[in-house]
Symmetry: C2
Subunit: 204 residues, 2 copies
């Protein structure tokens, strides 16, 4: 049941919003009705924020994270430890790790993982720029923080080979695998539980 | 857990989108990540549609429905029956009735219903303009298509009293109450079932 509109402006706004992922016609209609009642300045500010985001956002030339300038706020922060580089798949992963407030090093955003099924090869990712970055010196540790999937493992393996020449100066680490915080032992899958036994650590 | 952003532009876009109803931070983040990957022209078109909607949309001076000009497409359509006016609460109701494709008359959008609890009185609604419209002549039927709630009934009663002087020339009707299409008899509430028996119609 498609509603008929008496306003082309209204219809166009609904059409545009329903192009967003997870926004159907009904949701778009509800949003448009809300926008109609919003303060004019607020609507302008929202539209402006979206246009500026798309036109002005940059990617950091060091780590390829989103940035407002050529070098992002993390790479440009003098308080951060520039000797550790954490390799992640995308910018959401940077946000997730930043949210833990447990990491004070830098990042390197690959832009994906190697996935022959999806036609993504090493040259489609920021792997060469990672190698260049490490070869410039100053990096003591590279943390491979990719997803625990076959594609993630493949990418880890590829990167580890690419960084083989630096093994004497650069430590290569991966995220710990084990029980999630609050996980009950009996409901944990075998692979995870197995890894958590093998990689057990001294009781603090 | 609030993600930290390396871009103010990014953060502002997330903030703006999370002001929309039903859009939390996580949804806004997902939308912004999508917008970043969208074609630049599409983002401009979307932003432009929202700005133009808010700045340029008008309300029809006859029926108060949304419109791109002074008189809406429904009131200006010469194929529609101008002798019937359907009184509704809001523009969504116009869309709902239009979607049935069972009505060819005009509308009158009240902009709400009388609700003393919410501080909405008759003067806050487009009731006087309805009376003016009827008194200009040409209207043979006014359909009261308000919600079947206490506020709707109160508003129906108020309007019927206001239109009392026209009872000889203007027929006042309300929407039929009864079983919903596909409703099973045993699960229908008593009030609805009772009305559907009292208001039974000849078997077609």
């Amino acid at each position: 049941m498609e509603p008929h509109f008496s306003s082309v402006l209204f219809e166009r706004a609904v059409d545009e919003l329903s192009r967003l992922p997870g926004v159907g016609r009904k949701t778009a209609l509800r949003l448009v009705l809300h926008i109609l009642r919003m303060d004019m300045n607020s609507v302008d500010a929202m539209a402006n924020a979206l246009v500026r985001l798309r036109h002005e956002v940059k990617y950091c030339k060091v780590c390829h994270n989103i940035s407002d300038s050529d070098v992002c706020g993390i790479c440009g922060d003098s308080k951060r430890d520039t000797s550790i580089v954490c390799v992640v798949e995308n910018i959401q992963d940077v946000m997730a790790i930043e949210a833990t407030m447990q990491y004070n090093g830098l990042y390197h955003v690959l832009g994906g993982v190697i996935s022959p099924m999806d036609g993504v090869g090493p040259s489609d990712l920021q792997i060469q720029s990672l190698v260049d970055r490490v070869s410039e010196g100053g990096v003591k540790e590279v943390i491979l923080a990719l997803s625990s999937t076959m594609e993630g493992d493949t990418t880890n393996f590829y990167i580890s080979r690419k960084l083989k020449t630096f093994t004497e100066t650069v430590k290569l680490t991966v995220l710990a695998r084990g029980l999630s915080v609050n996980d009950e032992l009996q409901y944990t899958d075998e692979a995870t539980l197995g890894r958590s036994i093998v990689n057990r650590v001294p009781f603090a």
